[in-house]
Amino acid sequence: MILDFPGGVCPNERTLFSEQQIKKIESCSAICIKADADAEISVEVGSEVKRGNLLGMSGGTPVYASVAGRFSGVLDIEGEKYFVVMNNGEEGEERLCPPETIAINEMTREYIIESAKKFAVIDSRSGMPLWKLIEAGPKFRRVVIDCTESDPLSACNFRICIENAKNIVNGAKILLQATGALKCVFAAEHNRGMIFDALGEFANDKKLFAMAPLAEKYPYGDRALMHALYLRTLAKDETALDKNVLIVSPETALSLYESMATGMPRTHKLLAYVGEGIFGGGSLLVPRGMTMHDITAICGNAPEGCLLIENSLLCGKPMGGVLRDGTQAVISVRPTEKPRSNCISCGECANACPVRLFPFEALGRGIKHLQKSCISCGACNFICPSGIPLLELIWRDLSKKEATE
């Protein structure tokens, strides 16, 4: 049975790189890892560091160098602070501790939280440190490994599941142990059935694992997943954690297992670099904090007139200069303005709205009730055959306020 959620849209674009293996990229000129305002540094500025060396602490989580090079300190770039390491091209790496020898079923919750913190395992879906996510919910009911893509053009979650199925399942087992949840669900779009075949080979204990084929609709997020899997609705400011469900990406489960198994913190992150005119892209494994300058230099830049968008063409923002921990995909697109015409009352926007609003009501005067519930997913704007910028209309008074301020 295909699990569905209300609303959502399926853009026509399909993935271009699903057949292509994940490519590992090592060379880059510098890495910039986001730091909190109260970040502390552990090494001297100007000293040489190896990959895996501790650079400092940010928000209670250690930050490790993802390349070898000279540590430039915590620098202010465009109003935000970053740990900066200038790559010197050396290949050395330093393990944090010897590989784990304890069996998964003997690990305690505290031990796993401590390990996730020690190895700085970051959930690539939310960009949050995993230990904070686990600590946030004292009584988890379910763990969901969200194998859906952030955009139909991306295939990085598909590739990582195919190529690392065994380790992802092991990571899921550790997460079950850490959270005390009864079951782990692997959720992916139903048309990417190879994921279920690959994971099912290792996750064959039906009491512990379940496969959830989902409708091929976007955008997927906590809200859509919770509705599709458990028919639970979330309030506007709620996340799945509030319903005692831990949702993480397959990369997070993999990072947790591999860090503990090797004693080496995860210094790379998975990224889909795809879209119009990107011929050297695909599913990439890049150093954490890699700059877009380096990525475009290696994999090719977007053609003139194209924009690089982070995560989703439906609701993403233009990509900044540095990869964030929550960046799963960078998509090149040539933005098109659809010529606007009159509303034809087709109701497509109402059908596409994941929270069952009537977005066309924004054409009238009352928009407060829309603002109260709108999650700015962009589905209504995408689907409108008349090209009406419904999202802009819903938030028009806020845009005016911002402009006057």
Partner: protein
Amino acid sequence: MNAPYIHTNKKGNERAKNWLVALIPIIIWSVYVFGGRVISLCAICASACVILDYPIRRYLFKYARGTRIDLMAIVYAVLATFCMPVSVPLWLPTVAAILIVFAKNISVFRPKMLFNPYIFSAAVLNFAFPTQMTAFTKPFAYFGAFDVVIDQRLMDGYRVLSPLQYIADGSVYEDGLAAQLYGFASGNLGEIAIAAIILAAVWLWIRKELDITATAAFLITILVVAMCFPSEDAESNHYAYSILLSGGIALISVFALNDRHTVPLTSMGRLFLALFGGAAVFAVRKYGGGFEWSYCVILAINAISPLVERVTKPKPIVDSKKPDKKEK
């Protein structure tokens, strides 16, 4: 440039195109039964609608600036022509066009319309020009396509009552139900072509433009209520079928009940109004004489649509988080 950065390939006038395609079999049948004058009437009404509608949308309403010709104006024009007998003078479609453009653009519940333009035009014309709008002639009596007004003596030779007028007189349409079903009865241009209307409905249903539940509910309600309350001296089934096949019920059930500009967007709302509309149409038919009161029922449905839509609208499945009891 804000998200989303991509848009669907669907275009705003796709729906109007589907409707225009659906109207083609009805026009063909109407031309076959009533002759080339049907083309003249449709062309005059459609061109008048476009000529009047375009500048109003382009220059009067800011929200419509830069848009092209609205094909729905042509759809409404053709549908309004379908509600006229073939013998009407050639200036009458121009009046219909003025009414259509008025109803189409004077809208309180923007982007919704207050009244369905073609029904509004048909209802007003029936009140304002009762003689011309009820001058039904025999099928296959072809009049001149370019005669502005048809000679009264010529028309008198072909004048007959419509099935609806027969029912109002308490008698049975002499050519029988089959003639009505296959479209050989006297009456308005498009309303008689029941078989072609069924074809149009199938096309619209395939194109996901037709809410089959609402259409079926409307027709079944009329049929059931008519069977329950037959005319005193009529056989109940025959009476019910006659009611269903006469006048503009078929055309209304397909085109007026599925025009999302004027009916609720919620399927529950449409179903409710279809049931209400079906019962009301029968009531006005039974006690309203020969006049086609069903237009007025549809206008009433249109008027209460915003209210019904509001009542039947699903609750958003997201809302502000309720404060924790402990926090209180």
